[in-house]
Symmetry: C2
Subunit: 327 residues, 2 copies
Amino acid sequence: MPGLSEFELIETLLKPLAVNAPGAFALADDAAIMPEPLEGHVLVITKDALAVGSHMLFDDPPGDMARKALRVNLSDLASMGASPVGFFMALCIGRDTKDRFLKEFISGLAEDVDRFSIPLMGGDIIRQDGPFIVTITAVGSVKREDVLRRSHAEPGDSLWVSGTVGDGALGLLSARGQLGTLSARSQAFLSNRYRVPQPRVETGLFLAGLVSACTDVSDGLLADVDHICKASGVGCRIEQDAIPLSPAAKEVVQSNKGLWQTILTGGDDYELAFAVPAARGAAITDLMRTGPIQLTRIGIFEPGSGTTLVRADGVGVHWEQLGFQHE
Amino acid sequence: MPGLSEFELIETLLKPLAVNAPGAFALADDAAIMPEPLEGHVLVITKDALAVGSHMLFDDPPGDMARKALRVNLSDLASMGASPVGFFMALCIGRDTKDRFLKEFISGLAEDVDRFSIPLMGGDIIRQDGPFIVTITAVGSVKREDVLRRSHAEPGDSLWVSGTVGDGALGLLSARGQLGTLSARSQAFLSNRYRVPQPRVETGLFLAGLVSACTDVSDGLLADVDHICKASGVGCRIEQDAIPLSPAAKEVVQSNKGLWQTILTGGDDYELAFAVPAARGAAITDLMRTGPIQLTRIGIFEPGSGTTLVRADGVGVHWEQLGFQHE
């Protein structure tokens, strides 16, 4: 058991993360009181768990682990069009967790608490006989009529995605040393994309009330677009050539076309995938030109069900050509 | 890895727990939308984590583990005077977790979802290489001016406690077979008190707006009363003889006086400890006569700091007499 007591952890390291939340009572009560939502706003809540060895690698920097744990939750808030309000955290300290790990973890977390203006409002610390696990519950606020759901895409809406796709899953391969022939620069870029996602909070706020459906790319582009299709009762054609790849991902598929499977199904991108009605195309194009992040039109929703991958000429891509079978 | 996929777990077992929460979207979106609080109400949120081997015993019935995980959170809501709104759960499935365990766990959870009218609104399922861990985030609602805090006890307020104290910690000893000479009936009673806490939700709702401070007895009576003292800037004298013990706990201390230490510091009782201003004494006495649960006056807050244990004649009890040292 590390030398840091639960009391020291809370008093010294965690309490400073709660100063901007009056309702957190300096982490010294049984529960926190949420601030009253703005007129016409609702609170949205999401919860994610991450374990070392499963969602983070044993030798990832602890500060990056903390940022990832918070950011995957922020990505969920972004995909609802919500702005961050506060978060709750359970630290499940494992059998091998060192004091130094905890200090670096919380120090990394503190940076993101500032960066995303999201105070810690409560939680729990336990010790257990497994790997280090962190679960975070994030609370956001969004105007009731602007909430982004997965369920309102219509045939004719176009499918857009923020940023570049596939970097997260390729980054995991890179961090594991499985992309040995790749340039060091690309390796570093991809690993970092895996370790420290960039939740698209600003973009989500802009899209709120503007697009018809939205989700974040966490399970893999095809699976996540399929979630929109299922929830909306539509199908979707995705143009493979339109999918935005980072220079590093392009370098990867140039040498190994089979890794398109990883790009399309690997997940961990934390970009936003969203459905844009024709009437809203101009607003999105404006945002594409002036906004903080690249937005790319990659497909179109249609009557029916399921996600189809096509070439620019509309011909369907068989999964076998990509070296894998569609599940 | 168990045969149940995450999809099956959610679709078959968890989705039914979400039917009464429209904002949970059948667990099929990135986050849940909280219902708008009633006029003048605020949402309160608490989060607790429990691991098998640490907070639950390996051979506890899985359904009881689920009930305990939910109920310790309900107890936190009760101590704020809040009524349950919904909860979020992260299931961290361990290396040895079996399908049957998960089914029984969720089946036990389902019973309490009904009993306490608290729907599941979201969460996460992960697999990891340690013991089974569950973290729950519970959301409650309470009238803004009625929120119970730890911080408003005044000198002269009396200290009350619901139910009986010490059963939880003695129950852990019993469940571990460490109270061998105790009658089977008392063993069963105490073990059950450890495994399945009774959160005092109704009592908390009644106390809201009536008492000056409240907390739940989770860390141990002395520690939890001390939390009120610290938060309120007061001291407290507790009359040892007034502390309500169950018949089983009485049987325990009759044969081993040293176990008073366990009763006073062991925790896991999930009763409410609260401060009653003199003017509110009559209302509490009424509740004591007609309410669902025994309420007992066990002490008085006073100027100063710290918690003192005294006999009925006011003479201080030295910790050494109880066989332990006060931390």
